[in-house]
Subunit: 146 residues, 2 copies
DNA sequence: CCGATGTCAGATCCACTGAAATGA
DNA sequence: CTCATTTCAGTGTATCTGACATCG
């Protein structure tokens, strides 16, 4: 009595949406143990990969509303994971920089993410997992720039 | 300045979550043109695939909260896409049945879903799309029963 | 026990404020 | 140089969704 309707299982759209939601929820649960949410991790990752950003640029990169980003950064700054500094040449801007503690936190979160991933993708062989990743990556890159 | 952090792109968890969200949003937009949302489609599909359900069983099958299902069925019943009838043997139960109009609607929604899917998966060859579908299906089936 | 109503928390979106830069 | 306009961080809020709690 609990099987999913085949009509839906036939749709890749449905499977993507559903497994995506599962992945999201499981990761969010893990991050909650660190008192963080998905956006916190995304911000830390962006700063680690691309260096300090003005808040506006960070919001544009991550596709988050800048008013919401303010609150995410409030949290991270309160825990000394990022640092806010006024831009000296344009005093409207605030540079956001990753702290060493933030870098450590990010590494922990990545470990959590890999645990979730290993668990979720357990039914696939490593080769299949890599295949899935490659396919998803291509879909993502094309969907992000239509 | 708008590239996604590689730290995130390395995580299948992230790609699943992100592309899943994209798929969901695009389909939801399409369904909104019919004044319907994703749960409406899921309910129609379940009724088409498995026949009439009591509301409680339908909620269990779809993994939706029964209080939310009530309102979804309210909408569908108001548009004559499903019909509510009291169970004669257990008068607490309400049987929900698909109407011919509901079946037609479902077919329309499936068409919409395939359009979204063709668009989203356009960067992949048909063989790759089938591969992605098969992999996602296995992940979904295992994730649904942990 | 089952369907139905009400409510609450989280996320996203949108409008706005005040300070600071830009340019006519 | 002045004033209007634009840009930026930050605040407040409306809306929508999903989870829960309770009622009949």
């Amino acid at each position: 009595m609990d099987a999913t309707p085949p009509t839906l299982l036939d749709l890749s759209t449905y499977l993507l949406s559903k497994t995506g939601k599962t992945a999201r929820e499981r990761l969010a649960t893990r991050l909650a143990a660190h008192d963080l949410r998905l956006w916190h991790m995304a911000v830390l990752a962006a700063l680690a990969d691309f260096g300090p950003h003005a808040q506006r640029d960070l919001a544009a990169r991550l596709g988050i509303d800048s008013s919401d980003l303010v609150r995410v950064i409030d949290d991270l700054a309160a825990a000394d994971r990022v640092e806010r500094t006024r831009d000296t040449t344009d005093r409207r801007r605030v540079q956001v920089t990753l702290t060493p503690a933030g870098r450590t936190t990010l590494a922990d979160l990545q470990t959590e993410a890999r645990i979730v991933q290993a668990d979720l993708l357990a039914p696939l062989t490593p080769a299949e997992q890599a295949q899935l990743h490659a396919l998803l990556l291509r879909v993502h890159l094309s969907a992000d720039r239509p």
